[in-house]
């Protein structure tokens, strides 16, 4: 039954990687790598942004195939790092296949607490205000706008809305927020604060992964991610337009 455990481990590793936003070729490579840990006649791994597949054929045994459908995708660089370490350990026989499976199941879905994660949104915005040549005062005020965005994203998480809507509403709120803050603190730069506040929403990850997938010849994943980037960009654009439109008289 060793080969079945090996297959399960490979599928689990692939699933975690896809969920964490790894590039497709890395997912397939890691799965193949794990499958290579035991001798087999043939083993193959295949990954798409929506699912992973793997099969293994060992001598005198029927071929087994596992398919895993993946619905939720996000980004979690820590998980990618951990799976990378585990896969390397299992192939170099530092740990057994069972241990590898247990370690994979015990990977935490979040590397930081929710509070830190939310704080990171506000501080990310404050940092980007400075990066865009805003003043320290702008940066300080942008934290308030960051709190608005955190509230929207937290709300979206609670009602489990789709990313298109939460991005759109988020962009609307930060645009209105920046104009609102301008009416209280006259000295701030509305443009800089709005752009910086958009940063947690922009599809940086999708763009980067789309290019790397396409470059590897994974056109299916590449085009899916490119489309994802365009959709996110459009929802930000519509959101900002809504915000500006609602406060049209103040432009």
């Amino acid at each position: 039954m060793e080969h079945q455990k090996c297959l399960e481990t490979a599928i689990l590793a692939g699933e975690i990687l896809i969920r964490s936003g790894a590039e497709t070729y890395r997912v397939e490579e890691t799965m193949r790598y794990i499958l290579s840990a035991i001798p087999s006649v043939m083993s193959e791994a295949f990954a798409l942004p929506t699912g992973v597949f793997a099969s293994i054929l060992v001598e005198n045994k029927p071929v087994i195939t596992l398919v895993k459908r993946i619905d939720k995708r996000g980004i979690n660089l820590s998980s990618i790092d951990e799976v990378n370490v585990i896969s390397r350990d299992v192939v170099s026989s530092v740990i057994s296949m069972d241990e590898a499976y247990d370690r994979l199941t015990s990977i935490k879905p979040k590397a930081y607490s929710r509070t830190i994660h939310n704080l990171s949104i506000a501080f990310l915005i404050a940092g980007f205000v400075l990066l865009l040549n805003g003043s320290l005062f702008d940066s300080l005020i942008s934290l308030i706008n960051g709190i608005f965005l955190i509230l929207v994203l937290e709300g979206a998480r609670k009602i489990e809305s789709n990313p298109f809507i939460s991005t759109l509403v988020g962009a609307t709120v930060i645009t209105i927020g920046a104009i609102f803050l301008k009416s209280i603190f006259k000295a701030i730069d509305t443009d800089v604060i709005t752009i910086a506040s958009m940063m947690p929403l922009v599809p940086g990850t999708a763009i980067t992964n789309a290019i790397r997938d396409t470059l590897q010849g994974d056109y299916m994943s590449g085009s899916a991610r490119a489309l994802e980037a365009v959709v996110i960009a459009i929802s930000i654009a519509i959101g900002v337009a809504c915000g500006l439109g609602l406060l049209g008289g103040l432009l």
């Binding site: 890395r26 994660h117 940092g127 320290l136 990850t205 763009i207």
Partner: protein, 140 residues
């Protein structure tokens, strides 16, 4: 300019936390983001928006590959946070702003949004391909 680069380091470190990067790699990611943004600001003095993005992108991608190899972690760890400052949010915002005002300036901004995104793609493409060729040569 120092404040801008510090802002980039600060922003990218918190951006990495937002992307759930492991603690041990945060500082390195921040430094890559800072160096990349410094390169962008310097390049912007003599070149236009897209070429500056390309130059900065090349530097970020090379540093990411180098650091990732050194600490044995996937390149994504540094590549995604490192490129955050370059993502064309500025042009996108200005394009929407001008369109909402009914001004035709929006077209120019929209074009530069695509140009900057394309340049990010090109820089990652160039460095990735180069690294692949290099790896093959070393293996031989």
């Amino acid at each position: 300019m120092i404040l801008q680069v510090l802002g980039a380091v600060f922003g990218v470190i918190w951006g990495s936390i937002y992307l759930e990067a492991p603690k041990k790699h945060l500082l390195m990611g921040g430094l890559i983001g800072g160096v990349g943004w410094l390169a962008y600001l310097i390049a912007l003095r003599s070149f236009d928006l897209s070429l500056s993005t390309f130059i900065s992108g090349i530097i970020i991608a090379i540093l990411s590959h180098g650091f990732a190899r050194k600490v044995k972690t996937p390149v994504t760890m540094f590549l995604i946070p490192g490129f955050l400052p370059l993502v064309p949010g500025v042009s996108l915002y200005h394009a929407v702003y001008e369109f909402m005002k009914g001004s035709s300036l929006g077209n120019g901004y929209l074009l530069s949004t695509f140009q900057v995104a394309g340049m990010i793609a090109l820089s990652i493409f160039v460095v990735d391909s180069f690294v692949k060729i290099l790896e093959k040569q070393i293996k031989k």
